[in-house]
């Protein structure tokens, strides 16, 4: 590539907020017609840079050139007219309008206030068809799949004649198949001369579609390198500054005491689910979306069912969440923000909520006990916070999750259910949370992990329950001989 041209040149760009240097003067080039990935933990400064590029923030120092011309957008509109478009993680399509309505939204032509067809519609339609023939202009967008909605967003971006497209974790809500489709589109965009800045937490994606990668850490750009010749260990090392190659470590405790036994559970969705859980064990549930993992966790956490659940050999006939909690179960929910944390409250107030008696003295909340409890968990899990009063909403995802786990531990439950324990958490925090889970098992807690990430299940769990279509297909013991291919076949419904 001798004649490579730079789409964007970034020189010593810095951003200061009162009291914080979010971006400490970074410099690198983004070459035209490439997919340039940006990775880094939460708070590393990558979103600050993106916000500067899109005009949402004004840079404090440094220079940016776009296609050779100085570029300093003051408003989001400036960036758009400069040719930079963003595909946000949250989709900004209007479900109630048709595909056509979405594509022309905001630029409808009209005569005496009666809308007429936009000329650009033809162009838009052509672009749309080049990605996905099956999308019809008259379809309601609400009836499309997430990937198809993304296609519509991309089409909108291309209609605005963008030369640089920023994609912010575009696959977060996509299934495997849809992700593949999106990657094909990315390839095609590259061919059409669009430069792509691709932000992601998933390392595998970088290797699949990236040409270059810039690693951010603590407001600095650590390295910008071509992907070719790089291994994922190299990349993780750059991101963390240390090597973390995770692999399965068996739980150390004596795993012979049966703590939970589930026999022939049936609901409308589940067929004859049976499994057991031992003291000090990490049990994993793996299956594709719709296989019934969530339903299993719901039953253990108080939903109605037919069949038998025994905890410590005693028949568990509790009803509702409160019954489950008092029978010794605690749940780390999947949707952390909506179901796990109390965002307006501080760490100190969040942790004791499942068992306030731990901070009472003579029946009254004791500030000293409360502070001690909070400080103990902050130290134990190295929760990164200003102090124990730090509002949960303002913590990073990983630290929020640590607080949710602390809350469950304070309940002193024997069985902890964890639904997608590391979703939306950066790589470093993910490893930390995995280590916390292992440590809990070694201390004699029994843990059930429900995860849609196979790597996580395989790294973490002592035994793995594979689900397909509402039924348990196979239960594996983890070890060296575990085969990912075999697991994928089972959960995809292949007969074994």
């Amino acid at each position: 590539m001798a004649h490579q041209e730079n789409a964007i040149e970034i020189r010593n760009v810095g951003k200061e907020f009162p009291g914080v240097r979010a971006l400490k003067g970074v410099s690198f080039d983004i070459i035209k017609n490439t997919v340039h990935c940006i990775v880094g933990e939460n708070g590393a400064g990558k979103s600050t840079l993106i916000k500067i590029l899109t005009g949402a923030y004004e840079k404090s120092s440094g220079e940016i050139t776009l296609n050779g011309k100085p570029f300093s957008p003051l408003k989001v509109r400036d960036a758009m007219s400069g040719g930079i478009s963003v595909l946000y993680q949250e989709l900004n399509v209007v479900d109630e309008l048709t595909v056509e309505g979405n594509l022309t939204l905001g630029k409808e032509k009209h005569q005496f206030w009666f809308p007429t067809k936009a000329d650009d519609l033809k162009i838009a339609e052509d672009i749309l068809k080049s990605f996905d023939e099956s999308i019809k202009l008259k379809t309601l967008v609400g009836s499309l799949s997430v990937a198809q909605k993304q296609v519509i967003e991309i089409t909108k971006a291309l209609c605005a004649e963008c030369s640089v497209l920023i994609m912010d974790e575009p696959t977060a809500a996509l299934s495997l198949g849809e992700t593949g489709k999106l990657f094909k589109i990315v390839e095609q965009l590259k061919k059409n001369g669009v430069t792509i800045i691709y932000i992601t937490h998933k390392l595998s994606e970088i290797f699949e579609i990236g040409d270059f990668v810039s690693v951010f850490k603590d407001g600095d750009m650590v390295a910008t390198q071509p992907i070719e010749g790089m291994t994922s260990t190299d990349l993780v090392k750059m991101m963390l500054g240390k090597v973390v190659a995770e692999s399965y470590i068996p739980s150390k405790g004596d795993r012979s005491e049966k703590i939970l036994e589930v026999k022939n559970i049936r609901t409308r969705k589940l067929q004859n689910i049976s499994f057991e859980l031992f003291k000090g064990e990490i049990l994993g549930f793996y299956g594709l979306v719709g296989a019934g993992k969530t339903e299993v966790s719901e039953i253990l956490y108080g939903h109605e069912y037919e069949g038998e659940v025994r905890i410590n050999r005693k028949l568990a006939n509790f009803k509702g969440v409160r019954g489950a909690v008092s029978s010794g179960l605690a749940l780390v929910p999947e949707e952390r923000r909506e179901e796990g944390i109390f965002g307006l409250l501080g760490i100190r107030e969040n942790i004791p909520l499942m068992k306030l008696t731990n901070i009472l003295k003579h029946g009254v909340v004791n500030r000293q006990k409360e502070n001690q409890l909070a400080d103990r968990y902050i130290k134990m899990f190295s929760i990164a916070a200003r102090d124990r009063n730090h509002q949960l909403a303002l913590l990073s995802g990983g630290n929020q999750q640590k607080v949710v786990i602390s809350k469950c531990l304070n309940r002193e439950s024997d069985i902890i259910l964890m639904d997608e324990p590391t979703r939306g958490v950066d790589v470093g925090a993910k490893v930390e949370i995995h280590n916390i889970i292992r440590e809990l098992a070694n201390q004699g807690k029994s843990i059930i992990v429900f995860s849609s990430e196979l790597q996580e299940i395989v790294n973490l769990c002592d035994r793995i329950v594979l689900m397909y279509d509402g039924a348990v297909r196979e239960t594996l013991h983890n070890g060296d001989d575990i085969s990912m291919d075999h697991i994928m076949e089972v959960v995809a419904g292949k007969e074994v």
Binding site: L344, E349, V364
Partner: protein, 323 residues
């Protein structure tokens, strides 16, 4: 960060409210000769007392993310029921007890519709608002008049006009008691903690094993009980029970609470803030009357206070969320 700036940042709303109260007081003491009199202050506090008694409970209810628009009607209903029973020979203590139970009855209707069944609190409690008010008029009519005034026994009036330690009106003592109880509940008890948790994230509260329905229901009962007590107190102090008393009082209560920094979405707020908010409302109303400003201007001023307080609330909320 040093302690003073931390205090100023977290308690902005209260600092602003104290500033407003002090400003109103300074302006009024120069412009009206009647302002700085014991009589005027007693009047202001008697008016504020009823709001504060109800709002102390309603404040915690709003912290859970719920609210009660029926308090004014429950107050009127309770006054009428109490007066009716006293007039027709029921001993005053028994009458008070029955009235309180009746008030709690309204509270349990609210608890049932809002907390158990899950109807929007605006709709459900407006329903109670109309029914309780209507029944108050109906009972007054049975008695044969618009108000229940003639034929009330002496004890009926004595109760509300009692002076504690020979000086302090009972209403003010009850206000202080209500404040003390709810500051304690808010800061020191399980109910207080759960209320904040429910308001901050009801779903997470439920999944944490917190009895959401129980706590919210309990608060609806307490709010209604306090409204009932206020009804007894007010009727007794004035010496008559009128079915149209305390119309719009639910808004006085809500304005005091919101001015005090409690979020309508829940999860945030304080009893002390609410008290300061009630004082702002009380002194502002007092000032408008003392300065002889016609009532329609008062209404306009009142609306402005409400909107400004909401904007203030929102701005401070955004600042915290952004940092």
């Amino acid at each position: 960060m040093n302690k003073t700036t931390y205090f100023l940042q977290t308690e902005t709303q209260k600092v602003v409210l104290v500033g407003i109260i002090v400003t109103i007081m300074i302006v009024l003491s120069f412009t009206s000769p009647h302002f700085l009199t014991l009589r005027n202050f007693t009047n202001v506090f008697l008016k504020v007392a009823v709001i504060v008694i109800i709002a102390s409970a309603a404040n915690l209810l709003m912290i859970t993310g719920n609210f009660d628009l029926s308090v004014g009607s429950i107050l009127a209903f309770s006054g009428i029921v109490h007066a009716y029973m006293c007039k027709h020979g029921v001993p005053i203590e028994l009458s008070m007890a029955i009235t309180c139970l009746a008030a709690i009855g309204w509270g349990s209707i609210n608890a049932l519709t809002v907390s158990v069944i899950g109807i929007n609190p605006v709709i459900a409690t407006v329903g109670t608002l109309f029914i309780a008010r209507g029944l108050a008029f109906l009972i007054a009519r049975w008695d044969g008049g618009a108000n229940i005034m003639l034929g009330l026994p002496m004890e009926f009036v004595d109760f509300g006009r009692e002076l504690i330690f020979g000086k302090i009106p009972l209403a003010i003592v009850m206000m202080v008691a209500a404040l003390a109880i709810f500051i304690f509940i808010e800061k020191k008890t399980v109910i207080g903690r759960y209320s904040f948790a429910i308001g901050a994230n009801q779903k997470a509260a439920r999944l944490s094993g917190i009895n959401v329905v129980g706590i919210v229901s309990l608060l609806y009962l307490i709010v209604a009980l306090f409204a009932g007590l206020s009804g007894i107190l007010q009727a007794s102090r004035v010496g008559l029970a009128a079915p149209n008393v305390a119309k719009g009082m639910e808004f006085d209560v809500i304005v005091a609470i919101i001015l005090g920094g409690t979020s309508m979405m829940g999860g945030k707020g304080s009893t002390i803030g609410m008290f300061l908010g009630a004082l702002v409302v009380g002194f502002a109303a007092n000032g408008l009357i003392l300065l002889g400003i016609p009532f329609f201007y008062q209404s306009i001023a009142y609306g402005l206070i409400l909107i400004v307080s909401l904007v203030l609330n929102q701005r401070i909320g955004i600042k915290e969320g952004d940092s």
